[in-house]
């Protein structure tokens, strides 16, 4: 059973690496720039590139004084996929970002980027999966079957081993958020490893949003005891209270920042390492290095799968711990 599953996993991961190869195949030669290739994969973009040369233009949304402007990102490029110098609607594409053509022009970029498109896809996949899981429960008190039996143990794990022990008796209120958080990170991580996927959970904007959600929930559910501990730590001399106050305030913000950085760094680092090994093939252009790198990438992909689970677990666990600390009763 295990070997069969491992085998299919290997096949899947092999395809992943093959796809990366195809992706970068055109770039081989003297003009191959590894750093550029890696950054291109890791960063957000205004087109959804499935393979090199095969990309779907995405809508660019710009909010400025003159209102909302929506147009296709293909308007920013010429036929050779090079950014147009004159731009469109006052903006131009410059090194992966939208820049104003006229420096005076101020706007907010709300474009559906590659990551936003991937975010929508991930969310839709999650909704489809979990609603079909929920449908399995329409019959009362029957054993789980099908997709339900895949996710039920994970849901129980999140509930019984992450949320319940860390938040304490009032955990039920936070359970939906924690489940959404866990599965969003998990799906984002795993789907991000797929070929032609975006580096969603390795983007700092995504992890920042998640960290802010946890920060807000933590501090809005914080009780009197929690705030008292921050602003007027009981049980210590007066002078120590004054010294401790800024430390506590730093702690307040370092918690979500650590959440943000940890997930972002773990996932982005994984992608960079994977891409570096694939890049080696194009630098050395030898069969030996190719086979070696491909095998190494397969192994790394397995490690990345593990990291995907671990990071989802860690983010959810620390969120629960912070909420647990904020809602803890005086002892």
């Amino acid at each position: 059973m295990f070997s069969k599953r491992t085998f299919s996993l290997l096949i899947l991961l092999l395809f992943t690496s093959i796809n990366h190869d195809v992706f970068s195949a055109e770039k081989k030669g003297d003009d191959f720039n590894m750093g550029e290739m890696i950054m291109h994969h890791v960063l957000d973009d205004y087109r959804y590139e499935i393979m090199h040369g095969v990309s779907i233009p995405l809508p660019v949304i710009i909010y400025s004084d003159s209102g909302l402007e929506i147009f296709s990102s293909s308007k920013l490029f010429d036929e050779g996929h090079n950014a147009l110098e004159e731009g469109y609607n006052g903006v131009k594409y410059y090194h992966g970002k939208l820049k104003p053509v006229d420096p005076e022009f101020a706007f907010i970029d709300l474009s559906i980027t590659k990551n936003v498109a991937f975010l929508i896809m991930t969310s839709l996949i999650m909704i489809l999966i979990f609603i079909s899981v929920a449908n399995g429960y329409s019959k009362k008190n029957t054993p789980p079957k099908g997709i339900q039996s895949v996710f039920e143990p994970i849901i129980l794990f999140v509930r019984d081993d992450i949320v319940k022990p860390n938040i304490g008796p009032h955990y039920e209120k936070y359970l939906p958020y924690m489940l959404t958080l866990f599965f969003f990170i998990f799906f984002g991580n795993v789907l991000g490893l797929m070929p032609a996927a975006a580096n969603l959970t390795g983007n700092i904007a995504v992890t920042m949003t998640l960290a802010i959600f946890t920060f807000l929930i933590t501090n809005f559910s914080g009780n009197k005891h929690y705030w008292k501990h921050i602003f007027w730590t009981p049980g210590i001399p007066l002078i120590m209270r004054v010294i401790i106050l800024p430390i506590e305030l730093i702690g307040l913000f370092s918690k979500p920042i650590s959440l943000m950085i940890r997930l972002f760094a773990a996932i982005t680092a994984g992608h960079i390492v994977l891409l570096s090994f694939i890049g080696l093939i194009f630098i050395f252009q030898s069969f030996g290095v190719g086979i070696f790198s491909a095998l190494f990438v397969v192994g790394l992909n397995l490690v990345e799968l593990m990291v995907a689970g671990i990071q989802a677990y860690v983010f959810t666990m620390f969120s629960s711990v912070y909420i647990g600390l904020a809602t803890e009763e005086e002892h």
Binding site: V116, R159, L179, M208, F213, T268
Partner: protein, 165 residues
């Protein structure tokens, strides 16, 4: 550095879409799932509880049955011994009754005998008196000259009386 600057668009969409995802999943997935999981856990716990209770009840019933059986056995013994006692006492009663009756009969018989005896005695006395009077009459009628003849006469009389008797 670009890696570390969050894109405004992605921040905006991530916040909105994640919130929508949270709302949709909470309502249509987590709520039914966690509720039915809890329900199922409760169901399993209840089933185990009721199974345990049923077992206890079975043991109780068995114990009760045994108790009942023991009681019935005791009752039987009690009834038997009572019956024995009753029969014994009845026997004793009958015996004493019979004895009493016999005693009474004997007593009555004794009394009758006594009465008969008394009656007989009275008769004897009466007869004796009559006899004496008879004798006296006859003595008075005859001339009693001598002692010897008197004596002879008395003897004759007695003989006579005895003969008549």
């Amino acid at each position: 550095m670009e890696l570390l600057t969050p894109g405004t668009g992605l921040l905006f969409w991530q916040a909105i879409i994640f919130f929508i995802l949270f709302l949709v999943l909470s309502k249509y997935a987590w709520k039914p799932i966690t509720e039915s999981l809890r329900e199922r856990e409760k169901f399993i716990e209840d089933s185990l509880d009721s199974a345990r209770k049923a077992e206890e009840e079975l043991i109780n019933i068995q114990k009760k049955n045994e108790d009942l059986l023991n009681e019935a056995r005791k009752e039987r013994e009690k009834i038997l011994s009572e019956a024995k006692k009753l029969s014994n006492s009845m026997k004793d009663d009958a015996k004493s009754n019979a004895k009493d009756m016999a005693d009474k009969i004997i007593e009555d018989a004794k009394k009758v005998i006594e009465a008969e005896k008394n009656k007989a005695m009275n008769d004897v006395k009466n007869n004796l008196a009559e006899l004496s009077i008879d004798i006296a009459e006859r003595i008075i009628k005859k001339d009693l000259s001598s002692d010897s003849s008197q004596k002879k006469y008395v003897e004759d009389l007695i003989k006579e009386i005895n003969k008549t008797k």
